[in-house]
């Protein structure tokens, strides 16, 4: 029980971290142009996203 009491919160917090990361990336436009990103890697430009 005592191990559970900190292991479960740790696990849940890590999950929340992952969820937060996904929601952040969604809002940041990381999934806006999946086709473009696949092509961009072929060109050697100094490539910075517009929002960043």
């Amino acid at each position: 029980m005592s191990t559970l009491s900190f292991l479960i919160p740790v696990a849940v917090l890590m999950g929340i971290g992952g969820l937060g990361a996904f929601l952040w990336s969604l809002r940041n436009g990381q999934y806006d142009d999946l086709d473009g990103a696949a092509e961009r890697i072929l060109y050697e430009n100094d490539d910075k996203p517009l929002g960043g």
């Binding site: 029980m1 849940v12 969820l19 996904f22 969604l26 999934y31 142009d33 999946l34 473009g36 910075k48």
Partner: protein, 736 residues
């Protein structure tokens, strides 16, 4: 220019942002080219191309506040840029909303699942209580936030007195969550948190896939509105030229249409001689020559010289707008069609609800234990809840759509695939669908080698498609290049030049032979070379049968599908094409209205008709048919009316689409059968009170996996199909 200014968004500090839609951005090279070209303008701070949405986002800052000519610059490197119309963002928002809901549901259900495993493996009552509490806390966001889509849809359906799949889902999820919450605080043994959240998760996966498919289809049928001008240069009474927005243009307004501009409203040409690209409306790639007094329609693109046009009606009443309204008014050919899922739901929902109520009453009568009866009733609801059913259809449709996309066919939505599988009659349009307007030299006659060489040399001076064909043919036919003098191109008529002191003309028969340039309506299918009105050589042009047309017709006939042709062209031309592709049933000289009437007549006889057409005159027929297809080269209006778009213009797409649709409908039925088998096994278990949450979870996930795996079979089968086809093609090639 002013358009750009209006569309720019102020980012502060004089920095402005504008989004341009570039429909012909297709690859990485296009992206890089656009970005580097625009990046070189000093006013541009940053520029970013998006290949998925085919948009350019430009941040710019100009001291004098006027934006650089972005569209013009993009035009010089061979792309077209237009200002996007609002309305697309709505769909994007919906998808990212679904993704967010999906992420939340996924996170919650996975965590609850892990906690539930420890409960099932035998936690002591105190730990169990804690784990249940945590599960409840985790389930709350999923049930409230992720489930909202389903509750809204269910509520809408109920408010209209209908029942859809979302009704049992919503009731199941909410009831099970409520009961589990009660059990958590009453220290019960079982909760159904993981069942309700994973149900939401799986169903959201299905819904998100469905939305993504629609988005792809919509971007393929590039919106008509995007192509329309947002304003025009108006000539004021005092001679000033001013840029105004569309709603200030009315009858009598004089507009100046520069080369490269679209006509904003139907009108009459006052001055100027030019050529118009009317493909937006008609789908014909052939340019039309127009002069003073000529009629123009909104949406025509001026490709030649500047024109002064007097509008006869306001843009909102123009032919284009009128057509749009007509299309909306035509009762959608499939509005009566009910999706398979909805039909299933109509049967399914009452059965599930009935069973659940029945089990509650039966158990209550036997045991007089409200809690136990309620638990069993809810477990029936949850177990029978269409987890696999929710995936059964979208999963297959998405795999099928992906498959089709690889073969150059875009499906507008899932129901189009279902309808395609049911067709028994196909009606083709001729021009632009079975044939391609791409001038092809049918025959050429000339008096002597000198005349032939003259025609070839003269044709080389023009970039007109027909001249190109003649020049090409001449250079292959060993024609000499002759030194011509004083070459002049008379737009819309032809070319003239001097050779050894004599004047030669090459061009439209009427003009070159009689010097009559007035009559511009006759179809220019014969080009002649003349000297002083005497015909020396003549070239006859015809239309080319589109790649795969013959094969597609043959394929349809082999499948026992009736094939007909419905065209506005003259009977002679229609019959010759029909003979060539193998269609027996032809109706020629049909007006747009006749086309729609013919389709309705066929439907009235109980036929499921597929219409394949490209032009503006097919749009209503496309909409009233059971299912419709349009080649991507067709007019914009036909593309937005059709269910399927053939991207590479190969009629072979019909074969691929039909085979895939039929496979998909078989797989969907198999999936339904799987889901029913699952229910037949699990519902009795639930009714008899043996369905623990563990059994529910296992049964639900296995059935979902089975259904998904079955859908993926479509991809494998289709691969085998394309392989077989490649082999037969090779064989055919070897024979030739």
């Amino acid at each position: 220019m002013d358009e750009l200014m209006l569309a720019s968004r102020d980012l502060g500090d004089g920095l402005r942002q504008v989004a341009l839609s570039v429909p012909d951005m297709r690859c990485g090279v296009c992206m890089v080219e656009l970005e580097t070209t625009l990046g070189r303008i000093p006013e541009v701070r940053s520029v970013r191309a998006n290949l998925t949405t085919k948009r350019l986002t430009i941040n710019w800052q100009a001291d004098n506040g006027t934006p650089p000519d972005f569209a013009g610059l993009i035009g010089t490197i061979g792309y077209t840029a237009v200002l996007p119309t609002e309305g697309h963002e709505h769909l994007d928002d919906e998808i990212s909303g679904l993704l967010r809901a999906l992420a939340v549901a996924g996170f919650c259900s996975m965590n609850i699942m892990i906690l539930s495993v420890s409960v099932w493996s035998g936690a002591d009552p105190a730990t169990r209580q804690v784990l249940h509490m945590m599960s409840a806390a985790l389930a709350l966001p999923a049930v409230i936030y992720s489930g909202a889509t389903f509750y809204r849809s269910a509520w809408r359906a109920l408010a209209h007195g209908r029942v859809n799949m979302d009704v049992p889902i919503s009731i199941g999820v909410l009831l099970s969550f409520g009961l589990s919450l009660y059990d958590t605080f009453a220290e019960g043994r079982q909760t159904y948190f993981e069942a309700s959240t994973s149900l939401l998760f799986v169903l959201l996966v299905g819904r998100t896939l469905d939305q993504l498919m629609r988005k792809r289809a919509r971007s393929a049928a590039a919106s008509l509105a995007d192509m329309m001008p947002k304003g025009a240069n108006v000539i004021r009474a005092d001679g000033r030229v001013e840029y105004v927005s569309l709603n200030e243009i009315g009858p009598g307004t004089r507009t100046l249409i520069a080369a490269g501009d679209r006509i904003p409203a139907d009108g009459t040409i006052l001055s100027g001689l030019s050529e118009l690209d009317r493909s937006l409306l008609t789908g014909e790639s052939r340019w039309e020559t127009v002069g003073p007094g000529g009629q123009v329609r909104a949406g025509d693109l001026n490709v030649g010289h500047p024109l002064t046009v007097e509008a006869t009606i306001a843009p909102g009443d123009s032919t284009l707008a009128e057509l749009h309204r007509m299309l909306e008014a035509v009762e959608d050919g499939r509005s009566g069609y009910r999706m398979l899922v909805d039909r299933a739901a109509r049967l399914y929902a009452p059965v599930v609800h009935g069973l659940s109520v029945f089990s509650f009453l039966a158990w209550f009568l036997v045991t007089h234990d409200i809690h136990l009866s309620l638990t069993i009733a809810i477990s029936v609801l949850i177990i029978a809840c269409p987890c696999a059913l929710g995936l059964a259809v979208p999963m297959v449709q998405v795999v099928a759509a992906r498959r089709l996309f690889k073969h150059g066919v875009v499906a507008r939505d899932g129901s189009a695939l279902e309808r395609l599988a049911e067709i028994d009659t196909v009606v083709f349009d001729k021009t632009g669908t079975l044939t391609q307007y791409d001038p092809m030299l049918v025959t050429g006659t000339w008096n002597g080698p000198l005349d032939f060489s003259l025609a070839g040399s003269l044709a080389r001076f023009s970039s007109h498609p027909m001249s190109k064909v003649i020049a090409d043919y001449a250079s292959r036919g060993k024609a000499e290049a002759l030194p011509l003098e004083d070459v002049r191109e008379i737009r819309g008529n032809g070319l003239e030049a001097s050779f050894r002191g004599e004047r030669y003309c090459l061009g439209r028969a009427a003009w070159a032979a009689n010097g009559d340039g007035g009559d511009r309506t006759a179809a220019a299918s014969t080009i002649v070379l003349t000297r002083g009105g005497q015909v020396l050589a003549s070239f006859l042009f015809g239309e080319r049968i589109r790649a795969g047309s013959v094969k597609a017709v043959q394929f349809l006939k082999d499948r026992g599908i009736a094939v007909q042709m419905l065209t506005g062209d003259v009977p002679a031309a229609a019959f010759s094409v029909a003979r060539e592709v193998g269609i027996d049933h032809v109706k020629a000289a049909a007006l747009p209205k006749d086309k729609a009437i013919a389709i309705d007549a066929l439907r009235g006889r109980g036929r499921n008709v597929m219409m394949v057409g490209d032009g503006i005159n097919d749009a209503i027929a496309l909409k009233s048919a059971h299912v419709s297809m349009a080649p991507a080269s067709g007019s914009d209006i036909s593309r937005s009316a059709a269910d399927f778009i053939l991207l590479n213009g190969d009629m072979d797409g019909i074969r691929v689409a039909l085979t895939t649709a039929r496979r998909a409908s078989v797989l969907i039925r198999q999936n339904f059968a799987l889901a029913i088998v699952y229910n037949v096994i699990s519902i009795p278990l639930a009714l008899s009170g043996y369905a623990s949450p563990l059994i529910a979870a296992v049964a639900m996930s296995t059935s979902s996996i089975l259904v998904v795996a079955n859908a993926v079979r479509l991809e494998i089968d289709a691969d085998a199909l394309s392989l077989r086809r490649a082999q037969t093609d090779r064989l055919a090639g070897a024979v030739q």
